[in-house]
């Protein structure tokens, strides 16, 4: 059986997807009847086709910065299903071979399972409890068959690479730990591309030799954990220092104007995405260290329904009640603030546009929300969200750092890092603004000490780029400030630190009105003596008249 002959790999088209599914199901049926060399080869073949087809289709999905439409989502879900199905077929094929670890097809089938399990994880559209036990069992099988670290040719995204079972096992666990909702799909793709490059560093150690490590427990049912194993039992340790060294190499390559890897889809993604992954890994490796205190304890907050605003403009408009933009009145065509229009809008549209999220838990550093997919539409990683605290009605602001499908289908879990629990709207006027009434309201984020060194403002990216000076007047005191550093940033916003600068020299006071009156001018011409003889004056009329008037 050769499925390659009849399958189209244009997975963007529904008919090609249906065709592939048909071929995969035929392979599955053959695999159910018997597991032999031929059926194993057919499975590897169909898996290879899936890999090549997805490599073509995902370019359209990930390389675009546009939001996904329904077709895109359907394609993403389909890719996840196919990878998962192929991984399950691989497990089905491996099962009868457990008794004979030296079987020739076994290493490639184990690789197939690990590879497609990880691919399914990357395209996951619905949070399920991952079956780590199956992963660990595959690794133990490879270890017992002495092929865990054997280098085997493999095809990824249509390119030939050499991999080991151990490398793919650690890749699966690594991606599961670091890319579960905290990175966008494009960023996951970049991280995965780097992991392929760093495959030589994905090596497990049987004993803990100190340093920053992550461990896997092959006899357990959990993913990667930090630090050494405390109880009895086997453990595999993944050292993070070599990975950090590789991360720094990526930074140096970017400084030299070279993207890592230099080929493939990851090389076509925006540099900002690469930088986001670099920063994320830096933080992640740092927090895995032995000196870190771990996550802050969480407190359950089930059932608290909160209206949440997304983005700086919405927070200002709905959370603070500030109209965004300046009404100059120069091109007034419609009285949009008329009472009837306002009531109409409130009745029909405003309530429908509100988002309500359920606070699931909270800690000293952040909040966890559950939301319906319809309410969470448009809330992405890096977005700024705000809500009013139920207790003191203070304005709370946070950054979305995690977004993943919830355990309940149709719901989304959103993790928010707290920026402040007491944001304060403050009007700032630019130096260039002639009218003080045209001050713009910004959100002041007070720092955690009284020195003011940690204070910041939430500003749009464009405002920060211009770096103008602002004037603020509070409690009778005037300040001139200038944004000078980025303390945090997300989609369209910057948490900008600022410095108080000396006030601009005031313009000279206007002169009193009476002094501004113009002096009286008198036009006086100097007398000019023109010598004129009398004949010329006498004949002047004669010379001015045309000759025909004389006739």
């Amino acid at each position: 059986m050769n499925p390659k002959s009849s399958v189209s790999l244009q997975f963007q088209r529904p008919d090609a997807r249906a065709e592939f599914e048909r071929a995969r199901k035929e392979t599955k049926t053959a695999l159910t009847e018997r597991v032999d060399e031929e059926s194993a080869t057919a499975l590897l073949e169909i898996a290879s086709l899936l890999d090549v087809g997805v490599a073509r289709a995902k370019r359209e999905l990930l390389a675009s910065t546009l939001a996904w439409n329904e077709d895109n989502r359907a394609l993403g879900a389909w890719i996840h299903q196919q990878h998962r199905a192929v991984a399950e077929m691989g497990l089905q094929a491996v099962e009868p071979l457990r008794g004979e670890p030296a079987h020739a097809s076994l290493p490639r089938l184990v690789l197939l399972c690990l590879h497609h399990w990880t691919e399914a994880l990357k395209w996951n559209a619905c949070r399920e409890r991952e079956e780590y036990g199956a992963l660990h069992a595959l690794y133990m099988l490879a270890a017992s068959g002495c092929f865990a670290d054997r280098r085997i040719p493999w095809i990824v995204d249509g390119r030939g690479v050499t991999v080991t079972v151990e490398g793919l096992y650690l890749r699966a666990l690594f991606l599961d730990r670091f890319a579960s909702g905290t990175l966008t799909r494009a960023q996951e793709e970049i991280l995965d591309a780097w992991l392929w490059q760093w495959s030589a560093m994905l090596k497990a150690e049987r004993t803990y030799a100190g340093g920053t490590v992550l461990r896997a427990e092959p006899d357990g049912s959990a993913g990667l954990r930090e630090g050494p194993r405390e109880g009895e039992g086997p453990a595999l340790y993944l050292r993070l220092e070599p990975l950090e060294a590789e991360r720094r190499k990526v930074v140096r390559e970017l400084q030299r104007g070279r993207i890592v890897p230099p080929h493939g889809l990851a090389s076509e993604l925006r540099i900002e995405e690469h930088i986001a992954v670099l920063d994320y890994l830096r933080r992640a490796f740092r927090t895995c260290g032995p000196e870190t205190s771990g996550r802050a304890p969480r407190e359950c907050q089930a059932g608290l329904r909160i209206e949440v605003w997304v983005g700086l403009a919405e927070i200002l408009t709905r959370g603070v009640g500030v109209a965004v933009g300046v009404e100059t009145g120069r091109w007034r065509t419609l009285q949009v603030d008329a009472a009837t229009i306002e009531q109409h809008a409130q009745r029909r549209f405003v309530d429908a546009a509100r988002r309500y999220l359920w606070m699931a838990n909270s800690s000293a550093t952040g909040f966890g929300f559950e939301a319906l997919e319809s309410d969470a539409a448009g809330i992405e990683l890096g977005d700024l969200v705000g809500w009013r605290n139920a207790g003191d009605n203070a304005l709370v602001l946070g950054q979305v750092i995690r977004r993943m499908p919830s355990a309940t289908c149709g719901q989304v879990f959103i993790g928010v890092k707290t920026l402040t629990e007491a944001a304060l709207p403050l009007p700032l006027s630019q130096d260039l603004t002639l009218d003080e009434q045209l001050a713009t309201t910004y959100l002041f984020v007070p720092g955690d000490d009284d020195s003011g060194r940690r204070d910041a403002f939430l500003v749009p990216e464009k405002t920060f780029d211009l770096q103008p000076s602002f004037n603020a007047r509070m409690a009778g005191e005037a300040f001139t400030l200038r944004f000078n550093r980025v303390r945090g940033r997300g989609r369209g916003w910057i948490l900008a630190g600022f410095e108080i600068v000396p006030p601009q020299p005031e313009a000279p006071a206007p002169q009193p009105e009476e002094e501004l009156e113009l002096p009286t001018f008198e036009l006086e011409l100097d007398p000019v003596e023109i010598p004129v003889d009398e004949d010329t004056v006498a004949q002047a009329f004669e010379r001015e008249l045309p000759a025909r008037l004389h006739t």
Partner: protein, 276 residues
């Protein structure tokens, strides 16, 4: 009255004259005949219609000659680099190596340079909008100092490193990097940066200061010379005073004003609350 000259319409009511129609048809027929015949132009403009065979022969000759010339290595005199000190002026502290060669930015291909620029602008928002911004030592040093204050020392070092690559003649950038490495107590980084600084600015007036810091941070490192006494710095405490190459402001007015601003803002809010 309008005096715009008008061209005489070439055709009457949009139709060409009959003669022109015939002439066009005849012309087209002649062109078709000419196309069917072998190309033998009668009138040739001088220099624009070379003889095919002659041109081919000349091209062949040129190619052979070029290939032959390419195989022979040219006899050129060896260029010996006299070292950076040969062109430096001892009086120049900041720019010890004048000239276009030293000002040449980090040599990269155009595409790589574009990627580098994109990387720099995305990595350091608000600091650099282009690679040219890295040539401003004041701007870069201030930004690096702020990163350092924000406990983003890695970004500070990277920014100064990139700036030193872009404008190697700007010695203040090198010195600021050395000071931050010293403040981080990064011994290896300091030694490495000091070596690079010594190579780029061999007779810089600040080198004794670098040696002084280096002897404190990396005693025994031959680059910084021997320790000349029990303590090689005139300062009470375990570490020598720093030369403030990062240009930290001595004036505390801005700090006081920042505290005032914080106090006024919280007073405006009604209750003193801090962020988490």
């Amino acid at each position: 009255m309008s005096a715009i000259p008008r061209q005489r319409p070439p055709f009457f009511l949009g139709l060409p004259p009959l003669a022109a129609l015939f002439r066009g048809k005849a012309g087209r027929g002649a062109a078709a005949d000419a196309a069917s015949r072998p190309c033998q132009p009668v009138a040739r403009l001088a220099g624009t219609w070379p003889n095919r065979t002659a041109a081919g022969a000349r091209m062949a000759l040129d190619t052979d000659r070029l290939l032959a010339a390419a195989r022979v290595s040219p006899e050129l005199a060896l260029i010996e680099w006299d070292g950076d000190g040969a062109h430096s002026s001892p009086k120049q502290g900041a720019d010890a190596m004048p000239g276009a060669a030293q000002r040449a930015p980090f040599a990269l291909e155009a595409r790589q340079r574009k990627i580098r620029e994109r990387y720099v602008t995305a990595r350091f928002p608000g600091v650099a909008r282009s690679l040219a911004d890295l040539e401003s030592a004041d701007r870069v040093i201030k930004a690096a100092r702020l990163y350092f204050e924000e406990e983003e020392a890695e970004l500070a070092i990277e920014l100064l490193e990139l700036a030193a690559q872009e404008a190697p003649h700007e010695s203040p950038v090198w010195l600021a990097r050395l000071e931050i490495l010293f403040l981080l107590r990064d011994r290896d980084g300091f030694v490495q940066a000091a070596h690079a600084f010594r190579g780029a600015h061999p007779r810089h007036e600040a080198w004794p200061e670098v040696e002084r810091l280096g002897r404190a941070l990396a005693p025994g490192e031959p680059l910084f010379g021997a320790v000349s006494g029990p303590r090689d710095h005139e300062h009470y405490g375990p570490w020598p005073h720093t030369p403030n190459w990062i240009r930290a402001p001595w004036d505390l007015t801005a700090d006081v004003a920042a505290a005032d601003f914080h106090r006024c803002a919280l007073r405006l809010a009604g209750a003193p609350r801090a962020n988490a």
